[in-house]
C-alpha cells in the first residue's frame, strides 16, 4: 500500500510537470512601436504634436496600460537599444521639462494604435522658459498578465524662436 501511494504521487508529479504551460518568452511581453514622431525628430514647445503608437500583445491576455514620460537627456545617457541621434553638447539642466501620463488601453484588444495630441508648454509655473535640447520619451506598456515592456524615443525639443 505504501509503495503504491508513492508511485501514485510520483505519477501525479510528472502529470503536473507536463500540464504546466511553458510560455514562449518573447510572446509573453507586449510590444511597442512608435509610428510618430520618429527618432531624432525635432518638435517644438507650444506646438500640438500628434503621437501615434502601436501596441501589440501576442500573449492572448489583452493590452493593459500605457505610461509615457518625458525627461531631459542633457547628460547624454542611454536606456538600451534605442536609436540615438546627434546630440547638443552636455549641459546642466536649469528648468528642464518633465512630465508623465498614464492611459488605459482597451483590454479586449491584442493590437491597438494609440493616438493623442500633446502640447508641451514653453514655460513652467514660475514663468521661466523650459530648457531646450535633447529629451527622451519613455513609453511603457503592460498586458493583462502583468508583463511590461518599454521603449525609448530620442527627440530634440526646441523653442519656436530658437
Amino acid at each position: 500500500m505504501k509503495k503504491s501511494s508513492i508511485i501514485l504521487l510520483t505519477i501525479l508529479m510528472f502529470f503536473l510537470h507536463a500540464c504546466v504551460k511553458e510560455s514562449d518568452e518573447k510572446e509573453a511581453f507586449p510590444e511597442v512601436t512608435i509610428l510618430s514622431p520618429l527618432p531624432c525628430d525635432t518638435i517644438y514647445f507650444s506646438e500640438a504634436v500628434t503621437y501615434k503608437i502601436k501596441f501589440t500583445d501576442k500573449s492572448g491576455s489583452g493590452l493593459g496600460n500605457l505610461a509615457m514620460d518625458i525627461h531631459n537627456n542633457f547628460n547624454q545617457h542611454s536606456h538600451g537599444s534605442h536609436q540615438t541621434c546627434d546630440m547638443d553638447p552636455v549641459k546642466e539642466p536649469v528648468t528642464p521639462y518633465e512630465n508623465a501620463w498614464v492611459f488605459n488601453l482597451p483590454s479586449d484588444k491584442s493590437e491597438y494604435i494609440f493616438e493623442t495630441v500633446i502640447e508641451i508648454p514653453a514655460k513652467n509655473n514660475d514663468n521661466n522658459s523650459h530648457d531646450y535640447g535633447d529629451y527622451h520619451y519613455h513609453i511603457y506598456v503592460t498586458n493583462n498578465d502583468g508583463y511590461q515592456s518599454f521603449t525609448t524615443l530620442d527627440i530634440k525639443l526646441l523653442h519656436k524662436e530658437d
Binding site: 545617457h77 536606456h79 503592460t142 498586458n143
Partner: protein, 783 residues
C-alpha cells in the same frame, strides 16, 4: 526547545532510579561543573569537583542524556540500560570539525522520533561556515536558502517558502522586526548563538501563524560552570568587502547565579564583483525613474554597511528548575544600490571616492529585545513561562522630492532627518506558557498558550504601511504516544485568534495620487492547525517518518495594508484588506539509514496551499511605477532534500547534499515567484588525524563545490537565472597563540571568481551579480 520536551515519557516499568557517572575533560581529568540533563532536559544536575554526578530519574525511552559545558561540544547519549557508571569524555568545541557537525545536523539521531524535519545547529557550525549574516551562514543546509540583501543582511527561505512564511524566534518567542519588507533581514548577532533549531515545513501547531513555512528558533546557551569565568575573542577579516569584525564573550557562574555577555561589531565595504559587462536595468521601473545603462566597474556602489550587537544574559539555576533574563541589542546600517542611486550621477561619482562610505539610500535598524524565561519542574511534569518585549525601529533614508510643491514644510523637516523616507517603530509584547504533563508512562501532553501584542507606529516623508495594532492568542494541545519500542505517534491541535486594527491614513498631498492611502480597518481572524505524525524505528540504523498536517497564516500588515512605492523594488505595491488567512496542507516523509561509516537521508515533502498569497504584477501603471497587488491562488510546492555522508580511509569525509523544490500556481498552471532552484553541494575534507604538533593541532583541509541549476520557471517580469558552480576551499586548525588556545580558519570563497546570480537575492532583480573571490580569516581565542 519546547518541542523537544515532548520527547520524554515514562515507560511501563517506571520507577525512580539513580544513575551515577563521571565527566572527564579531553585529557581524562575530572571536569567539575558540567551540566547533565536527563531525558532531554527533564531533570538535571551538575558534576561535582571530582567530575562525578548522581541523578535521580524516571525511565525515559527514546530520550537522551545531555552533557554540556561551555567551551566543550555538547554530548548526547541515547538513553539505554547500560548508562550507569558511565564515563563521559568531553571534547573541546574547537576540536569540532565541520563534518562532525554536519553529520549531527543532517542525520542527528536525536531527531529520529520527531515526525517533523528538524535540524539542530551548534555554534561550531556557525563558526565554520561564518558568512555575512545568520541566514547566509545557514543557507549551507539543504532546503534552506537565504534571500541576500547585500553582504550583511538576509532573509530566510525554507523549502521555497520565505518572506512572511518563516518565523524567527528566540527560545520560542516570535520576533516580528523582519516582517515588514523584502529587504529587512533578521536582527540577530550570529556570534551570540550557541545553538538553534530549524524546523523545515509547516510549524503553526507549535508556533502559530507565520510559521507556515518553517521556524528558525534560537535556543538558550549552556549554563556555565560553577566558579569559573570564561572569555573568548574572535576576529574576522574578509578581502572582498574589506570586512573587519570582532566579537568578544564573557561568561561565568557563582553558586546558583550565572551570566553571559557578548559584544560584536562588524564593518564592511562595498561588494567587489567579477568583471561585469555594461547592462541595462530591467524594464519594470517607474516611468519617472526610468531604466538606465549601468556600468559597475569593480564594486557595487553603496553596499557597505556595519553591524553592532550587545547581549547580556543572567540567570539562576536551582533544583526546581532555572530562570533567566536575556537582553539583546542589535543595530545595523546598510547602504543600498538602487534605481535612485543610479539616476543621480553626482551621487554615483561620490561613491567612487570611497568603498566604505554609506550614502543615501540606506537602511538603519535598531532592535532591542528583553526576554525572561522560567522552567519549573513538578516531578515528571514541567512548566515553562516566557515573557518578551521587542522594540524594533527600522528607518529607510532616500533622496526625497516634492512633486507638486505642496509639501515644502514636511520636505524640509524630513530632509533634516537625513532624508527620512520611512520609519517604522514596532513594539511587541509576548507571553508564552507551556505545561508538559506525563501520564501512564506512554503519554506526554503539552499544553501551550501563546499571546502577542504588536503595535506599529509610522513616520517619514513617504508612506508604505499604516499604523496598526495586532494582537493574537493561541492555545494548542499536543500529545505523544509511545506505542512500542519501534513506533511513536504524535499529534496536536491548535486554535488561534488574531485581531487587526489599522488606522486610516490620508494622502498629505491631495494633488498627487490617491486621496486615501489606507482606510480604517478592523478584523478578527481565526485559525486552526493540526498535525499527526508517525515515526517507525525498525532498527538502530533505519528511521522512517511521516507527518501530515494543516497550518495557517494570517496575512501580515504589509500584505493587507501596503500602499505606496517600494523604492528599492521600483514598483507600486498594494495590499488587499480582503485577503484570507493562508491554509496549507502538508505531508512530510523522512527515511534515514545510519551506518558507522556512512549515512543517507531522504526527506520529500508536499505542500498544498488553498490560498497562497503572493505579490502579482497587474496591468496598471502609475507614474510611480507598475502596480503590484497581493493576490491569492491555490498552489502546490513539493520537493525533497537528500544527503549522503561518507567517512573513508580514516581521514576523508565526503558530504553530498541536495535540495529541490517545485512550485506551481495550480489555478492557472504557472510559476510562483522567487523559488530557489535545485542545488547540490559536495564537500570533501581531509583531516590530519595523526598530526599533533606542539603548536598546531587537528589541521584539516576542505574543498567544497556548490552547483546550482538554472531557474527558468519564473513569473511575469521576474528574471530567469542561469546555472552556476562555485568552488570554495578551507583550512582550519587549533593552535597556541600568545600561550592561549586558539582556533583558526582560513577560507577562500568563490575561488574561480565566478560571475553568477543568486536567484532569490535582492540584487538579482537589478542584474547585479554576487560577490567575487573572497579570502577570509577567522581567528578565535579562548581564555
Amino acid at each position: 526547545m519546547l518541542f523537544f520536551l515532548s520527547l520524554c515519557f515514562v515507560n511501563a516499568f517506571s520507577q525512580s532510579h539513580e544513575i551515577t557517572g563521571k565527566i572527564l575533560d579531553e585529557n581524562g581529568r575530572p571536569l567539575p561543573g558540567a551540566t547533565i540533563w536527563w531525558c532531554d532536559h527533564h531533570n538535571g544536575t551538575i558534576s561535582d569537583l571530582n567530575g562525578d554526578f548522581a541523578l535521580k530519574y524516571t525511565s525515559c525511552r527514546h530520550g537522551f542524556l545531555t552533557v554540556s559545558y561551555l567551551g566543550y561540544q555538547t554530548h548526547e547519549i541515547p538513553i539505554s540500560d547500560e548508562l550507569n557508571g558511565l564515563k563521559i569524555k568531553m571534547e573541546p568545541s574547537e576540536y569540532l570539525i565541520d563534518e562532525v557537525v554536519i553529520t549531527d545536523n543532517f542525520n542527528g539521531q536525536m531527531r529520529r522520533i520527531q515526525s517533523m524535519s528538524v535540524d539542530r545547529i551548534q555554534s561550531d557550525f556557525i563558526q565554520q561556515n561564518l558568512s555575512g549574516s545568520l541566514m547566509q551562514t545557514l543557507s549551507r543546509l539543504p532546503g534552506v536558502s537565504s534571500s541576500d540583501i547585500g553582504s550583511g543582511n538576509a532573509k530566510p527561505i525554507i523549502r521555497g517558502l520565505g518572506y512572511y512564511r518563516v518565523a524567527f524566534a528566540m527560545n520560542g518567542i516570535k520576533q516580528s522586526g523582519q516582517f515588514w519588507s523584502a529587504h529587512t533581514g533578521l536582527s540577530v548577532d550570529q556570534h551570540n548563538i550557541e545553538q538553534l533549531e530549524i524546523i523545515k515545513g509547516p510549524s503553526s501547531l507549535r508556533y502559530g501563524s507565520d510559521a507556515i513555512g518553517g521556524v528558525i528558533n534560537v535556543l538558550p546557551p549552556a549554563i556555565p560552570q560553577e566558579g569559573v569565568y570564561n572569555a573568548s575573542v574572535s576576529l574576522t577579516a574578509k578581502s572582498n568587502t574589506q570586512w573587519l569584525g570582532a566579537s568578544a564573550n564573557v561568561s561565568g557562574r557563582k553558586n546558583d547565579f550565572y551570566f553571559r555577555s557578548q559584544i560584536t561589531h562588524n564593518n564592511y565595504g562595498d561588494i567587489k564583483i567579477p568583471y561585469t559587462d555594461v547592462f541595462y536595468l530591467p524594464a519594470p521601473v517607474s516611468a519617472i525613474e526610468a531604466t538606465h545603462k549601468v556600468e559597475l566597474g569593480q564594486h557595487v556602489p553603496n553596499t557597505a554597511g556595519n553591524e553592532s550587537a550587545f547581549a547580556f544574559t543572567t540567570g539562576i539555576v536551582k533544583p526546581w528548575g532555572n530562570s533567566y533574563l536575556d537582553f539583546s541589542y542589535h543595530t545595523s546600517k546598510n547602504g543600498f544600490f538602487d534605481w535612485i542611486g543610479l539616476k543621480h550621477e553626482e551621487r554615483r561619482e561620490k561613491h567612487l571616492n570611497s568603498t566604505r562610505d554609506i550614502l543615501l539610500p540606506y537602511q538603519k535598524i535598531e532592535n532591542y529585545a528583553v526576554n525572561h524565561f522560567t522552567n519549573r519542574f513538578f516531578g515528571e511534569n514541567k512548566l515553562e513561562l516566557a515573557l518578551g518585549f521587542q522594540h524594533n525601529v527600522s528607518s529607510e533614508h532616500c533622496p526625497l522630492s516634492d512633486r507638486t510643491g505642496n509639501r515644502q514644510e514636511e520636505l524640509a523637516h524630513y530632509r533634516e532627518l537625513d532624508d527620512l523616507e520611512l520609519l517604522l517603530k514596532l513594539n511587541t509584547f509576548s507571553a508564552n506558557a507551556l505545561y508538559s504533563y506525563r501520564e501512564r508512562d506512554r503519554h506526554t501532553f503539552d499544553f501551550v498558550v501563546n499571546t502577542q501584542y504588536e503595535q506599529n507606529t509610522i513616520d517619514g516623508y513617504n508612506h508604505i504601511i499604516p499604523n496598526y495594532i495586532r494582537h493574537s492568542a493561541g492555545i494548542a494541545l499536543m500529545h505523544r504516544y509511545d506505542i512500542s519500542e519501534r513506533w511513536v505517534l504524535s499529534r496536536g491541535y491548535r486554535l488561534d485568534y488574531h485581531h487587526f486594527d489599522m488606522a486610516e491614513t490620508l494622502n498629505p498631498d491631495p494633488q498627487y495620487g490617491d486621496s486615501i492611502f489606507n482606510q480604517e480597518f478592523s478584523k478578527d481572524y481565526w485559525g486552526t492547525a493540526f498535525s499527526g505524525g508517525l515515526s517507525y524505528l525498525p532498527s538502530d540504523r533505519w528511521t522512517f517518518k511521516i507527518n501530515v498536517g494543516k497550518s495557517y497564516r494570517v496575512p501580515s500588515a504589509y500584505e493587507l495594508g501596503a500602499h505606496g512605492l517600494h523604492r528599492h523594488e521600483g514598483r507600486f505595491e498594494k495590499g488587499d484588506l480582503k485577503l484570507k488567512p493562508e491554509q496549507a496542507y502538508q505531508m512530510d516523509f523522512g527515511a534515514e539509514y545510519n551506518h558507522p561509516s556512512f549515512s543517507v537521508a531522504l526527506s520529500p515533502f508536499f505542500n498544498y496551499f488553498a490560498n497562497y498569497l503572493f505579490l502579482n504584477p497587474t496591468p496598471y501603471l502609475r507614474s510611480e511605477g507598475q502596480v503590484y497587488e497581493y493576490q491569492q491562488t491555490t498552489a502546490l510546492l513539493y520537493g525533497s532534500e537528500v544527503s549522503l555522508l561518507y567517512h573513508f580511509l580514516d581521514n576523508f569525509d565526503l558530504t553530498v547534499a541536495g535540495a529541490y523544490v517545485y512550485a506551481v500556481n495550480t489555478e492557472i498552471m504557472s510559476p510562483l515567484p522567487f523559488i530557489p532552484p535545485l542545488s547540490v553541494l559536495a564537500d570533501l575534507s581531509y583531516n590530519f588525524n595523526n598530526y599533533s604538533g606542539s603548536r598546531l593541532k587537528n589541521p584539516k583541509i576542505g574543498l567544497e563545490s556548490v552547483h546550482t541549476a538554472a531557474q527558468n520557471y519564473t513569473v511575469p517580469n521576474e528574471l530567469k537565472t542561469p546555472a552556476y558552480t562555485l568552488l570554495h576551499a578551507s583550512l582550519s586548525a587549533d593552535l597556541k597563540i600568545l600561550d592561549q588556545n586558539a582556533h583558526i580558519i582560513f577560507r577562500v570563497r568563490n575561488i574561480t571568481d565566478a560571475h553568477y546570480y543568486n536567484h532569490v537575492s535582492f540584487y538579482r532583480r537589478m542584474r547585479i551579480p554576487e560577490a567575487g573571490r573572497d579570502y577570509q580569516i577567522f581567528l578565535k581565542w579562548n581564555f
